[in-house]
Symmetry: D2
Subunit: 269 residues, 4 copies
């Protein structure tokens, strides 16, 4: 049978990314307590394609995924990217895994526990002599409007908001990549907003969270700035993009804010 993909292409256009997307696959991730968590990821995998080749051998992405989904963490991504580059004979490989990650959360007064889901992503690219990794975490929060509180005799509109952080870490003095846990970014986002969001609250907890939010009003601008202050203060972080979206409870639209930052002198890879 012809191998059409290996035919020569004469349009003289290299392709930046070519691969598979909209793919679901079970993966195992590690949590901070070193427990293995099984979840389901949406996967996107790609390589570059030099100008002289007509096509990519798409089935090879699936082979690599099947072989490596046993443990997917920021630590194992380099191995997966190396496997993609090798199997597809590519100079550059990329992968994006988006998945729900679950944490047991304890209600603030009664201590009642339940599981909360956080949408996360691992995004990695690798070339011969460089690697780049971004961890993304989306944290639901409560946001209470400072303006509404200030101008009203009582009450204040509040709503669910989502804080999404994309973070790239640097390397320590001895060359090892710094590592940040999803759990750390969750805490950081919750502190930046009016109150955390919980899976399970009993009445005493609901009272606590209601008043905590009222005591900590925060515009969408405040939330992104609070996150930015905290991430910049973390020496492990070289680059971040943070976005907050509040699903306004007095409107049928959202408000959002975003800050992008890069540490001076930071180098990728």
């Amino acid at each position: 049978m012809d191998d059409i993909q290996n035919a020569v292409d004469e349009r003289n256009w290299p392709i930046d990314q070519v691969g598979v997307s909209d793919l679901r696959h079970p993966i195992v991730v590690l949590d901070r307590d070193n427990r293995r968590q099984q979840t389901v990821a949406e996967v996107k995998m790609s390589v570059d394609l030099p100008h002289q080749f007509k096509g990519t051998h798409m089935s090879r992405f699936l082979e690599v995924l099947n072989e490596h989904s046993g443990e997917v963490t920021m630590r194992t991504l380099p191995r997966i990217l190396r496997a993609i580059r090798g199997r597809l004979g590519a100079a550059r490989a990329g992968i994006e895994l988006t998945f729900p990650y679950f944490l047991e959360r304890r209600a603030p007064v009664t201590g009642a526990t339940g599981l909360m889901d956080y949408q996360c992503a691992f995004v990695g690219t690798a070339e011969e002599d460089s690697e780049d990794f971004v961890l993304a975490v989306r944290v639901p929060v409560n946001s209470l409007c400072p303006c509404s509180k200030a101008i009203s005799d009582y009450g204040a509109h509040n709503q669910r908001g989502y804080v999404t952080m994309h973070v790239r870490t640097g390397r320590s003095a001895d060359g090892k990549p710094h590592f940040i846990w999803i759990e750390e970014l969750v805490s950081l986002a919750e502190l930046a907003a009016s109150a955390p969001v919980y899976p399970l609250l009993k009445r005493a907890d609901e009272r606590h969270v209601t008043m905590q939010a009222y005591d900590n009003p925060a515009f969408v601008e405040d939330v992104v700035r609070n996150v930015a202050v905290a991430l910049r203060a973390d020496a492990r972080v070289d680059w971040f993009l943070v976005e907050a979206v509040h699903q306004e409870s007095i409107h049928n639209h959202s408000v959002f804010a975003r800050i992008r930052w890069e540490r001076k002198g930071a180098t990728r890879g």
Copy 2:
């Protein structure tokens, strides 16, 4: 060329519905002030298929849609359904049009105006001697939790909620179908919740809405019951399904409630 669709089918299975879906088309709807509003609908059209026919002539649905999208209202649906039945030689025809509908809303204190979008649907089916129409309207509202208010020293969690009403109307003494405006259902849902949601609020308006919500706490159960009371009291209404969903601002999940009701002695068609 063969007409495969007209071939005889021997599996002896009539098909309840067969047709086209995931189709977008511009339509014109009438508002209460008799103005024509242009919007964009997601369309689903179907017929039944007797057991002896192999296939449906799908392109004919598109022909009918092109000819009738100039005005789509509860009043013109019967004409469209008749056209589908005729063109496809079917005993039964169905159509669903889902579309955003815009109303100019005035802020409660300053009177500042803006356009609000309401997701609506016209759902109709017709046979030789019967017709059935359902109007669906989804209204965004503010909901403030009665429990949170009662147990907290100050504040109360509130959030955006959506009230979705499916309503079937009866006929008047002279046999004419009763008619309900989208605008009427919007008002009814807003009265059932803690406060309306607006496109544009200035500071004085925001103060008003904040306190209005605090003065009118409503569980998701309250909202559906309030809507149910109002719809049952409306003699035009023969059947309804109402659902409220509150996007809890202290959780990452929603709460919902639904009531379905039919007037005794109501007959369809």
Copy 3:
């Protein structure tokens, strides 16, 4: 603190369903080979609410879910529903779990394996003396148009389609509920279409599937009828709703067909 939810309600409206939705939770399901598969479900849980009660204790749904997600199958649903009814003091309880289910699939020629995802749902309701369970499975398939093949000198448009089956089973002579595996419904849907869809195909497999589809053209009407014939012939099945949707590759819309059927004399619960 006041227990607002237990207050008396005087609007005199019982509520059909009230509960939590849009909730994600990890669950464990059993596959046909008796292996435990961890996946992530979207969960909806509800109870009825008699007219005299103002509100529901929503946090109790979460407590039940946390206690029972260790194994969720059609066999364990009755236990979960009983727990909901008990904990919330309700006459009727309902649950819907929607989740991706993975099967290892073998390519038809080379035998290369990979994991395929099938969107599934368990839907259960229970009252004092009755229980009702529906299993839903959505199967991606290839569909090749018989009309296009018949009228063209070469080629035929084909596309991805989805066959969704909702199935309710009856009870055997000794009163035990019949049981159907997800794997059985997957096979049945694939046989009804032009060709199965695979996670991983090498060139020899792609050749096989291409010709298999060309040899088995099927309208959306054929697919639902083929499934209907097979489900009716299965004595375990008391009721089904089957829908096929083909994402037409020559249009920007889909075509669909659906059949609903109930075995004569079948009784629920």
Copy 4:
């Protein structure tokens, strides 16, 4: 009432973008034949926020939108952006409008007409002395796999694909911005794929399109390269990002490819 938004912020963080999102609004766009087309847009509007200000006056975005939605084209975007900058006292303003755009398409043999929807976006940003505009158009196409055709005795798997082009134009010698019509990008994408996708095809048309696709097999790599060749050859184009996604009819995932290009010496604004 306090104007909290105007308070001084001491965290010393300017915000890149702050504004409103998830907003729906009717807009009027011009088509190539100079007819006004009413459609519905999803809108995102933003400004930058200097470090010394605590908050943004979000309601002003809505005021500007209400005043300018009467005609939204690449030509009127600068006026809207100027209005945002003025009303919010901002150095930089941004807007994104995403909307379905409808074209009457004629079937290739019978000439039967129907309306096709194309998802489009206008993306603009402006500062004191610079402006930047990107037009995005998503075109559904038919793609037939060259490998499947080459290795099979008959048939070839094909499927719906989407070609998305983001295009930035330059300025002519006399300083006027170049202008590209949505219609031009639609044609270009259709020529790059195996066959166009139509709203309404009669049997003779279906035969034509089936064979046209079989005669023009195209990998996802071919499609992006074909588009890239055509866009680079258009002297009006300074920058583009093109992505093709094929919803594989033999898999439950998609394949994709993307190329980004910038003309040498091109300057924005």
